[in-house]
């Protein structure tokens, strides 16, 4: 039991790390990662929703009728997303202004629904929480890494601190949408190179 909890948790960090291994949930990966702060904030919001929805779906898995399960999952997920949105407005309004429309879009993030359908509806609450935490932290790290690369190359800053001298010309392409695709592709390539050894 203890071993499988660890397994479920760690698989999200490498073997099934969402944007790189599963290539899922790309919309926020491409949309909000112009800075590392945005990426991490978005990742944490998603992690919170993922853990809560996984626990609740797992707790209710014997009650939810199979035919309307997707509708039930969506209600649960949408509720937690709205809670996150309200909390973020109340306690991190600046971050909310930057992430804007991407917060409500967590509802249709296929990672969250995917974990509810594929994992939480078939496993107990503790395993589901481990799975949600693992995948969520993996997702947060991925967003953070993509955000860091884009921020360092695109604006020459890291967490808002200037890194280079005045002679550095920011590679503005990296903070635009096409730069996000290129950055994600290169990181995927790197992950596969390391993973295949």
């Amino acid at each position: 039991m203890a071993k499988s909890i660890v397994q479920e948790f760690t698989k999200g960090l490498w073997n099934e790390i969402p944007p790189f291994r599963l290539v899922l949930g790309l919309c926020p990966v491409l949309g909000v990662t112009t800075t590392m702060e945005n990426g991490l904030g978005m990742g944490m919001a998603t992690t919170f929703v993922l853990c809560c929805s996984n626990i609740l779906v797992s707790a209710l898995r014997s009650v939810i009728p199979a035919k309307v399960r997707i509708a039930c999952f969506i209600i649960i997920i949408a509720t937690f997303v709205t809670v996150v949105e309200l909390l973020m407005q109340a306690f991190a309004y600046k971050l909310f202004l930057k992430l804007g429309v991407f917060i409500p879009l967590i509802v249709v993030n296929c990672i969250v629904l995917g974990r509810a359908e594929a994992f939480a509806s078939k496993n107990n609450m503790i395993l589901s929480l481990a799975d949600g935490l693992g995948i969520g932290i993996g997702f947060t790290l991925s967003l953070g890494i993509v955000g860091a690369v884009r921020e360092i190359l695109g604006t020459g800053t890291f967490f808002g601190n200037t890194l280079f001298g005045a002679s550095f010309h920011p590679f503005a392409f990296m903070v635009q949408a096409p730069g996000a695709f290129v950055c994600l592709g290169l990181l995927l390539c790197f992950m596969n190179m390391v993973g295949n050894k």
Partner: protein, 197 residues
């Protein structure tokens, strides 16, 4: 049949619980969110249009009932006297409502200035309504008794190039503000008289 009933019951219960939870979270965070918006979105707009006032307009505010709505009014003190009130109105823009903070001089009933607060207009076109100082300056000194229009509609406001709809939304919001001011004028001046100096 039993399965049908179960589906309906589960979905209804789940929606009801979710609705209740969201209402509770909303109630709990409402004041904080309003405060955050005041400080980070409305506050800067208010201070910009009431430039030179000697008080803190965000702290010195009062509420008035307008029909069923409750509106917040922010007081600007100039030369030791409360001379202007600022309040927010909305116009229909290209991508939804455009929020406009409008300040009115209570001695001559003319507009002191306007500033766009919240909007979802196109970046580079309609979004300029918030950043272009030349556009906002045109509203200074406009009357609260007549409608304000863009030049295309026979008015005096030069529309932002490529953003006629946004410009019209700002004009509509400013016209609306004039009407609100005329409607509530007596109540406003009473409130200002009672203000502790």
């Amino acid at each position: 049949m039993r399965e049908m009933i179960k589906m309906v019951v589960v979905l209804t219960l789940l929606s009801a619980v979710s609705g209740g939870l969201l209402a509770a979270v909303r109630n709990g965070t409402k004041d904080r969110i309003e405060n955050q918006q005041l400080q980070l979105v409305k506050g800067p707009a208010i201070r910009a249009i009431l430039e030179g006032c000697t008080n803190d307009p965000v702290a010195d505010r009062f509420k008035l009932k307008d029909d069923t709505l409750e509106r917040s009014f922010f007081i600007g003190v100039f030369n030791g006297k409360p001379q202007a009130v600022a309040f927010e109105t909305f116009g229909k823009g290209y991508g939804g409502d455009v929020g406009l903070m409008v300040a009115v001089n209570v001695t001559d009933d003319k507009l002191v200035g306007v500033g766009v607060t919240t909007h979802s207009e196109t970046p580079g076109l309609g979004a300029k309504s918030k950043t272009d100082p030349v556009f906002a300056k045109q509203f200074k000194g406009a009357s609260t008794q007549t409608a304000i229009n863009v030049t295309n509609d026979g008015g005096a406001i030069n529309a932002l190039s490529g953003a006629t709809i946004t410009s019209r939304a700002v004009c509509a919001a400013a016209t609306d503000a004039g009407q609100i001011y005329q409607r509530l004028k007596t109540q406003i001046s009473e409130k200002l008289k009672r203000l502790p100096q």
